[in-house]
């Protein structure tokens, strides 16, 4: 049985490579059928804002990539409720909102954690 991994993505989408790197870890793990979870928190929840335009800043469309998570076998996708409300994000795309207490329990469930 492979060790399970939780990736916590907490950087905004266009501020640097972190958001992309977190997603690449998750997609690579999913391609190998590893038990993997993805949690967006802090500015990472901005990755879930709808109707972003990656082309305007000559970037690849992270939002479109995120839509492929299910096909890569990644069904455990979560977002920090506190971070969402603090940023006025009421309609995050495809992520289950979790309270701070639930995030604490979530981390307990996984064997390893990577925070980017």
């Amino acid at each position: 049985m492979s060790k399970s991994l939780l990736v916590i993505s907490r950087q905004a989408p266009w501020s640097g490579p972190s958001a992309r790197e977190a997603l690449d870890i998750v997609l690579a793990g999913g391609a190998f059928d590893l038990p993997i979870g993805l949690l967006f928190m802090d500015d990472g929840v901005f990755q879930l804002a709808p109707h972003q335009d990656a082309k305007a800043v000559q970037q690849k469309d992270l939002g479109a990539n995120l839509q492929a998570l299910g096909l890569f076998g990644i069904d455990d996708v979560f977002a920090c409720h506190h971070s969402l409300t603090a940023r006025g994000l009421t309609h995050p795309v495809n992520a289950q909102p979790l309270s701070s207490e639930d995030i604490s329990k979530l981390i307990d469930r996984y064997d390893q954690v990577i925070t980017l």
Binding site: D24, G30, A64, N65, A68, L71, G73
Partner: protein, 111 residues
């Protein structure tokens, strides 16, 4: 530098033989890329190549093998969305070879 010549035009390829500019892709280019791999494209191949181009348009990435199988099963049914069918069509490396022929970048999550 790797290049591919189709008729009077020459296209730039990367070191693994993938098109550098995705806009260079056409049916003729796909046939030429397939010929370079000693493969003759049949309607069964085209069906997957079109599917892949649709995948890329939707998700902006090239699928690894497992998501490719899953997506094919979703769109064309399980009799086509399985590793046997895709491996037979694309010489055992469907994610890499089909992406190449469909004019997509090399799948980054496919080691």
């Amino acid at each position: 530098m790797n290049t591919l010549t189709v008729g009077a035009r020459t296209f730039e390829l990367d070191k693994d033989g993938y098109l550098v500019d995705l806009n260079d892709w056409s049916v003729d280019v796909a046939n030429a890329l397939a010929a370079a791999e000693s493969l003759a494209l049949t309607p069964s191949h085209w069906e997957i190549l079109e599917l892949l181009r649709g995948f890329y348009a939707e998700f902006q990435l090239s699928p690894a093998t497992r998501p490719l199988i899953k997506y094919t099963a979703l769109k064309l049914g399980p009799e086509k969305g399985n590793s046997l069918h895709l491996n037979q069509l694309f010489k055992g490396t469907p994610a890499k070879l089909a992406a190449k022929l469909a004019g997509l970048p090399r799948p980054t999550n496919c080691l």
